[in-house]
């Protein structure tokens, strides 16, 4: 029962942040649009999805900071590859094991891999992703294992 209420609260704050209007008529219209959005989400079955629990969201900011650093490092590495006189590329398809249980965890891990330049998630299966890497450095299994551990910790809320 808490889930629709929290969703409505998030929608309302998003509406307020984007509109910045605090007059009666716009507020009423905003509330109606939030309720319509809630109704559509309910009919799509998004609200009875058990994959994401609210306490897990607490670890998201820390993970965002870590992934931002990784993205900057990967960007500089790939920029070096592009700017070198003879680009040292060694394209490869590699299997990356993923230990996440929920759809949210899997999506977070697959998106994190794609977000860092040099690696792209191509296909997913049970417990393993197919990843395309541009160089040998980008395809190091240790980096994927470290990211996998962090994503699973973020997913379950445990360290």
């Amino acid at each position: 029962m808490a889930r629709p209420l929290i969703f409505l609260l998030v929608l309302a704050s998003l509406w307020l942040a984007l509109s910045g209007l605090f007059m009666t008529m716009p507020l009423i219209l905003g509330l109606f649009s939030c309720l319509a959005c809630l109704l559509v989400s309910y009919r799509m079955g998004l609200l009875d999805d058990r994959d994401t629990q609210i306490p897990n969201m607490i670890r998201i900011p820390a993970y965002s900071g870590w992934i931002a650093l990784e993205v900057i490092k990967a960007n500089i590495a790939i920029a070096k590859v592009i700017l070198s006189r003879r680009p040292q590329i060694a394209q490869q398809f590699i299997r990356v094991p993923s230990s996440q249980k929920s759809g949210f965890g899997k999506a977070l891990f697959a998106n994190s891999i794609t977000l860092t330049p040099g690696t792209v998630t191509v296909e997913t299966a049970n417990g393993v992703f197919l990843v395309h890497a541009l160089t040998h450095d980008a395809a190091s299994p240790e980096a994927f294992a470290a990211m996998d551990r962090l994503v699973t910790a973020t997913e379950t809320g445990q360290t």
């Binding site: 942040a17 993205v71 920029a79 700017l83 394209q91 998106n111 330049p117 997913t124 197919l130």
Partner: protein
């Protein structure tokens, strides 16, 4: 006092804009230099991530503490989520239709046989 603050703000946004432009230029150069579709995906990734985000950070410095900054921060968040999703959709479509890199140093894709688009969909979906 306000003069100093504005100077610092302009310098900070200038650095962010310059960094963003450099990464967008490098990404564009990569799109031209790299050999095939799969390698070019990664060059586009540079523009998607650091290029776009640094530009947004520069705009946030210019906007100061205002509603525009909140909107820019939300934009950055949405770009960080939808960018990789779009890249994955492109890569997956290329993989399913059978496009492969010209030269592969290592290939472990044999167990991921793209049977049909519906088959791939049920394979990727986890059981409830």
């Amino acid at each position: 006092m306000t003069g100093w603050l504005e100077l610092i703000r302009d310098i900070a946004s200038g650095i962010a804009f310059a960094g963003g432009s450099v990464f967008i230029l490098i990404g564009a150069l990569g799109l031209l230099r790299l050999p095939d579709f799969w390698a070019r995906l990664h060059a586009a990734g540079i523009i998607d991530t650091l290029g776009a985000e640094l530009m947004l950070v520069g705009m946030m410095f210019q906007a100061g503490w205002s509603q525009a900054t909140v909107k820019l921060a939300l934009l950055g968040l949405f770009i960080a989520i939808t960018g990789p999703t779009a890249t994955h959709a492109l890569a997956n479509a290329a993989f399913v239709t059978g496009l492969r890199p010209a030269r592969l140093a290592k290939d472990e894709s044999h167990s991921f046989i793209p049977v049909s688009s519906t088959g791939a969909e049920t394979q990727g979906r986890d059981e409830r």
